[in-house]
Symmetry: C2
Subunit: 201 residues, 2 copies
């Protein structure tokens, strides 16, 4: 986080995104206002309005910023040419989430629940999710190419992994069971071994 990866994101815009992150941790999603974001922003509130007409527009940009943060983390961590190792890295980063802060994860869960009501959020969350499906599916397809993985449907295997990641993250926020994420990491590992790895079953 905190690094400007988006080609079109200025220093000011990045500072607004960081302020939005802090405001979400502080107030949660439901009580998030432009004023709450301005209170976390060191410069003038009018600058926020100059860049983002509405809270909706700002939050769509924030989702993009989160995805960039995730992709940066992937680039920094993934130093392997091996598709199976790369898949493990992606799963680890996705399971641990964009940020460890519990307050932030609670706020994001509530934000996500608004998707069916706000078209712009639906579009943004769906676009981010498609990027993640593609990233996982490409890695799986690469593994099929190299012979590391069996000839499965890459998109479908990616979807199954994301189903487990989403389930684990929401259950860990809702029920506060610290083992859920670790157990799911092992379950995904086991899925990879028995269903993807060539000769694994």
């Amino acid at each position: 986080m905190g690094e400007d990866m988006g080609a079109e994101r200025s220093e000011t815009q990045t500072a607004i995104m960081e302020a939005t992150y802090r405001a979400l941790c502080e107030h949660g999603y439901a009580d998030l206002t432009m004023q709450a974001i301005a209170d976390e922003f060191s410069k003038s509130k009018s600058l926020i309005h100059y860049h983002y007409d509405t809270k909706e527009e700002l939050l769509v940009a924030f989702l993009d910023y989160l995805l960039d943060g995730f992709l940066t983390k992937v680039e920094e961590t993934d130093d392997s040419d091996d598709p199976r190792e790369r898949l493990t890295t992606l799963v680890d980063i996705l399971l641990s989430g964009p940020e460890k802060s519990e307050e932030f994860q609670i706020a994001m869960l509530e934000f996500r629940s608004q998707v069916p009501y706000v078209e712009a959020y639906q579009e943004a969350f769906t676009a981010n999710d498609r990027r993640l499906v593609t990233l996982l599916a490409d890695t799986i397809a690469e593994g099929i190419e190299t012979g590391a993985f069996r000839d499965v449907d890459p998109e479908r295997a990616a979807e199954t992994i994301l189903v487990m990641i989403d389930g684990a993250r929401s259950r860990s926020v809702l029920f506060g069971d610290g083992d859920t994420v670790a157990h799911t990491r092992e379950a995904i590992d086991s899925y990879v071994r028995s269903h993807l790895v060539a000769g694994g079953e």
Copy 2:
């Protein structure tokens, strides 16, 4: 739904639960008021207040009512002594959800996102979830006893299955992908075959 399974739920209380269901479908969670529930209830609004002091109390009772509905469905459907068949039945019913209505599932997703903010909801959702974990784990333990399943940790296997069910249901509501649930049913089946069924791997 609609059947009174709870020993302590009167006919009036059941009618209030049915009205709550309709009000949630109609208004979603955020706009649910006691008045909205009263509008769906054929008797006097004061009767609702007589039974439930607050909306919070009413919604906790509603979660209990949903769990009863699920357990009734399980009893009606499950006519097998075979633990593996019973597990399949439980997974099928849990995956299809308490109700097919999309509006209801959207409302429930938003309701669930309130868990971290309202202690009574956290208790109620957690208690329901424990019941489901136990129901699945007992079935798995029975299968271990009969030799149908390998000697796995029943609670952990139950948790993995619920992680997949929760992930599939929230993704299907959020991204509207009709295949997610069917694909996850197959993934769970595959998990059961390769990790639970004795000699399956």
